[in-house]
Every structure is written in structure tokens, then in C-alpha cells.
């Protein structure tokens, strides 16, 4: 055991926490600048919904809808 493990730990804390705070502070600045820049120079012309697009399932939607339509028909036919 080195005699100065505590001081190593303190150093790690100071530099580590300092870096985390500095990095995220810079990220606040960068993000704010980026949002302003995008909002000013590249506003979205088309109206985009606020929530993220649920497009991950998109490739299957048409097929799913087809299957469902068929199922609904089948379901009704059975009645």
C-alpha cells in the first residue's frame, strides 16, 4: 500500500469532478449554440411532430396493416 493513496484519491476526485463539470458546462454552451444555429439557419420547413418518430417499425407497417385488414375481414366473416 502506498502511503499516499488517500492523496491519490483526493487528486482523482478533484481532477475528475472538475473535468466532469467543465465538460458538461462546455456541452451546455455547445448545445445552446447548436440549437440557436440550427433554429436560425436550418429551421424545419415541414411540421415535425414533437415526439420522436415511431419509424423503427415503419418497414413493417404496410404489411401489418394488410395482415390486420385481412384479420378483421376474417374475424367478421367468422361471426
Amino acid at each position: 500500500m502506498q502511503q499516499d493513496i488517500v492523496s491519490q484519491g483526493v487528486e482523482l476526485m478533484l481532477y475528475g469532478m472538475g473535468t466532469v463539470v467543465m465538460f458538461l458546462a462546455l456541452l451546455v454552451v455547445a448545445t445552446t449554440v447548436m440549437s440557436a444555429f440550427v433554429g436560425r439557419y436550418f429551421p424545419e420547413t415541414e411540421k415535425v411532430p414533437a415526439q420522436p418518430r415511431k419509424s423503427a417499425t415503419a418497414p413493417d407497417d404496410s404489411e401489418l396493416v394488410a395482415v390486420i385488414s385481412a384479420a378483421v375481414h376474417q374475424h367478421r366473416g367468422r361471426k
Partner: protein
């Protein structure tokens, strides 16, 4: 008769030790907590099951070929090992393994070849661990999948919440101090690398904790992963008392202004901004945050949905199965049952508590100096533990003010906490791991 003896000797009952029996119970307990109590089951079911497999007496599933050979203890082979390692032939099994661990790569290879030639092989879980964790790949792939499931919208709508995510990482570094303190007074025996890996439990982020442990303290990985996931599951119990103690009723009632809509383009550009900042300022965090940003970009860019979909489903699920079993391999009795494990469990919960408190206090501080009111309850979400911590903020907020929906506001510090602990991971690998 000889066969019956061979069968009996190879049976578990003939070989089981008290440590293994205890660890089997621990494995069952983890399964119970995961299945019955809902403790992060996606990870704790594989980890618990892997822990049981690892402690099956005589199967050696968690050991390398070399470890299995040393346990086999064939005298001629042990002489060969000692000769190659350059140690006295009278060394015990433990001393041989220590000498092996300290030897260089060429010696490793020679010893492995001897073990293989003698018919010993790597255990199944050891192989899983090598491929999934020792290579670093599984945590990175999971981080990519998490990125593909993360919505940075609330963070972009209110970037200042990044400060909350930063503050809550104080839990990490306070725990480092705790670990070195326990070492300095002689209660535990952690190196500075160990302390850093233990601290990351306070990051409340499973893949980050596993990644850092695999680099800085592989022998502690089992305890650290179990602590991280258990405490993440316990967030709804750990956080509310601290949140109530540090806030007044009035503060908890603060309603926050509705978040502005965020455009898709901002969401596409954000992971690139984050990536460039990582590239310029903290390259050691590049693997973790790079994969995270990659997953997020795939999700948001809208043109590679089939890749994003796979990253969020098949790929992350496959990786989770093997990651969990691999972590379980570190629950093998002779590595897990150690006083240090108790220290890790104790320090881990302190880390969560301090992180929670720091986040709340930072929110109060920002309230004092900023103009827009912030409900300090969202500060606790900065530890990450996505999305549990944000839900806790919302729940405690609703108790104080039934019209106060904090969930979306708390998602900002919540995902900021993921970035924060990945940054902390990068710093620690950079300072300690070099």
C-alpha cells in the same frame, strides 16, 4: 466399481465447499429478487443464473484452462508449470496462479499450451467472459443500444439540466475517497484503480460500471456489477427519503415551465456535437460515448431505421444474455467471497445516496442564481438509473403537488447523468488506467 467411484468423485456433492454452497444461495437470491421483486430482471436473471453455473462444484465453468489445470493438480503438470514460470516446484496452487498472473504474454501462452495439451479447457462461462467483457465489446454494444433508445429531446429543450447530471456524479468521486479511506485505515485493501472502479457504481449506469471494472479492476467486476444493478433497482427506496430531507414542501411544489418543442434536426446534430467534444477533450471516453452517440444518431437520423431497430432489439438482447452470464462467472466463490465485496456493497449504496443529494443541492443552487424555477426534485434524477430515477422524481413531486408532472423535466438530468458518468469513466481510465 472404479467407475462408480469416478462418477461419485466427479459429482458435485463430493466436491462442494461451503463457499460454493453459499454462492449457490446467493445466486438463487438474486433470481428471487429479479423475478419476484422486479430488481432489474433483464440483467439480474442472467447474472444470478450465471452465478449458480459458476459455482457448480467440479464443473469449472467459470475457470480458464490454466485454472482448471491447477485445480486438477496433476503433479507432473504442476512441475512443468513451475518450470515455465521459473518458480519453486513446491509452490501451492494459489502461488502458481499468482506467478502466472504476474508473468508476461509469452509465458501465458506457454502455460496455456501445457494446460490444453493435458486436456484441460476453458469453462463455458470463462469463454463467454473473454468474448463479451474482457474484449470490452458487450458493454459497448449495450451502450449503443441504450443510445438508440434515448431521447435527448428534454435535455435539448433545457440544456441547463446538464449541470444536474454533472453534480450527481459527485457520488462517484466521493466513493473513491471512501474506498481509499477504508484502505488507509486498513479495513479494506483497494488500489487506486479498484477505488475508481468502485466509485463508478455511483454512476448508476450498468454498462459503464462493467466497462470501467473490466479495464481497471476485473477481479472486482462481479461485486461491482451486482451492486450497481441491485442499487439501481432500489432507487425507488433509496432516493425518496434523501429527496424529502433536503427539500422543503414549497420547493417540492414548484411547477416548471413547459418544455419547448425540439426540432428533429437538433436531435440529429446533438450526438455529433457531443462526439466532437469528446474527440477534442476526452478521447479516453470515446469508446463508450462514441457508441452511445452512434446509437442515438441511428435512431434520430431516420434513414437507417432497420439498423436502429436491430440495435434496440435483437442485438442488445443477445448481448445482454451473454453479458449477464459473463458477469455471473465473476460470482465464483473463491473470487467473490472476500471482505472487499462487503466494502463494495457498502460503498455502493453510499455512492447512490451522495449522488442523489448532490443533484438535489445543485438544483437548489441553480434555483438561487437562475431566473427559471427548477423543482429540486429533478436533481436526484441526475444519477442516471434511466428511467427509474426520473419516475421517482415525478412520483415524489406528485405527492407534494398533484398537478405537477415532473417526468419529462426529470428526463433531462436523467440522460445528462448517463453522459456525466461516461465522462467520469473516461477521466478515471485516463488518470488511473494508463
Amino acid at each position: 466399481m472404479e467407475n462408480l467411484l469416478q462418477l461419485w468423485n466427479s459429482s458435485g456433492l463430493a466436491q462442494i465447499g461451503p463457499g460454493q454452497a453459499f454462492m449457490l444461495v446467493i445466486g438463487l437470491l438474486l433470481l428471487f429478487l429479479a423475478i419476484r421483486k422486479g430488481f432489474e430482471p433483464l440483467l439480474l436473471v442472467p447474472i444470478g443464473f450465471g452465478g449458480i453455473l459458476a459455482n457448480i462444484p467440479g464443473a469449472g465453468l467459470a475457470y480458464s484452462a490454466v485454472e482448471n489445470a491447477v485445480q486438477g493438480a496433476d503433479p507432473a503438470l504442476m512441475l512443468d508449470f513451475a518450470r515455465v514460470l521459473g518458480v519453486a516446484a513446491t509452490q501451492s496452487a494459489k502461488e502458481l496462479l499468482t506467478a502466472y498472473a504476474a508473468s508476461d504474454s509469452a509465458t501465458h501462452l506457454a502455460i496455456q499450451q501445457l494446460a490444453m495439451d493435458a486436456g484441460y479447457g476453458n469453462g463455458m462461462l470463462y469463454s463467454f467472459y473473454s468474448v463479451a467483457i474482457a474484449s470490452g465489446i458487450a458493454p459497448l454494444v449495450i451502450f449503443m443500444g441504450v443510445g438508440a433508445m434515448t431521447d435527448f429531446g428534454p435535455l435539448l429543450a433545457n440544456p441547463k439540466t446538464l449541470f444536474l447530471g454533472a453534480a450527481a456524479q459527485f457520488g462517484i468521486f466521493a466513493t473513491v475517497i471512501g474506498a481509499v479511506f477504508l484502505t488507509s485505515i486498513g479495513w479494506m485493501d483497494f488500489s487506486i484503480s479498484d477505488a475508481a472502479a468502485i466509485g463508478i457504481i455511483g454512476g448508476a449506469d450498468g454498462p459503464t460500471a462493467i466497462y470501467v471494472s473490466s479495464v481497471l479492476a476485473p477481479e472486482l467486476l462481479g461485486a461491482i456489477a451486482v451492486a450497481a444493478y441491485s442499487y439501481m433497482a432500489l432507487v425507488p427506496m433509496i432516493q425518496p427519503p434523501i429527496m424529502r430531507a433536503l427539500t422543503t414542501e414549497d420547493e417540492r411544489k414548484i411547477e416548471m415551465v413547459q418544455l419547448r418543442p425540439v426540432s428533429q434536426r437538433e436531435k440529429i446534430v446533438f450526438p455529433l456535437v457531443l462526439l466532437i467534444m469528446v474527440a477534442f477533450l476526452l478521447p479516453d471516453a470515446a469508446p463508450l460515448l462514441g457508441m452511445f452517440c452512434f446509437g442515438n444518431l441511428m435512431k434520430e437520423c431516420g434513414v437507417v431505421d432497420r439498423l436502429s431497430d436491430t440495435a434496440q432489439n435483437a442485438l442488445i438482447n443477445i448481448t445482454t444474455i451473454f453479458l449477464g452470464l459473463s458477469v455471473g462467472s465473476k460470482l465464483v466463490a473463491d473470487k467473490f467471497l472476500d471482505v472487499n465485496t462487503l466494502g463494495i456493497l457498502g460503498l455502493g449504496i453510499i455512492a447512490f445516496g451522495i449522488g442523489t443529494a448532490s443533484g438535489i443541492l445543485m438544483a437548489k443552487l441553480m434555483n438561487r442564481f437562475g431566473s427559471t424555477p427548477i423543482n429540486p426534485l429533478i436533481g436526484s434524477a441526475g444519477v442516471s438509473a434511466v428511467p427509474m430515477a426520473a419516475r421517482v422524481s415525478n412520483k415524489v413531486g406528485l405527492e407534494a403537488n398533484p398537478h405537477n408532472f415532473l417526468l419529462m423535466h426529470a428526463m433531462g438530468p436523467n440522460v445528462a447523468g448517463v453522459i456525466g458518468s461516461a465522462v467520469a469513466a473516461g477521466v478515471m481510465i485516463s488518470l488511473v488506467g494508463g
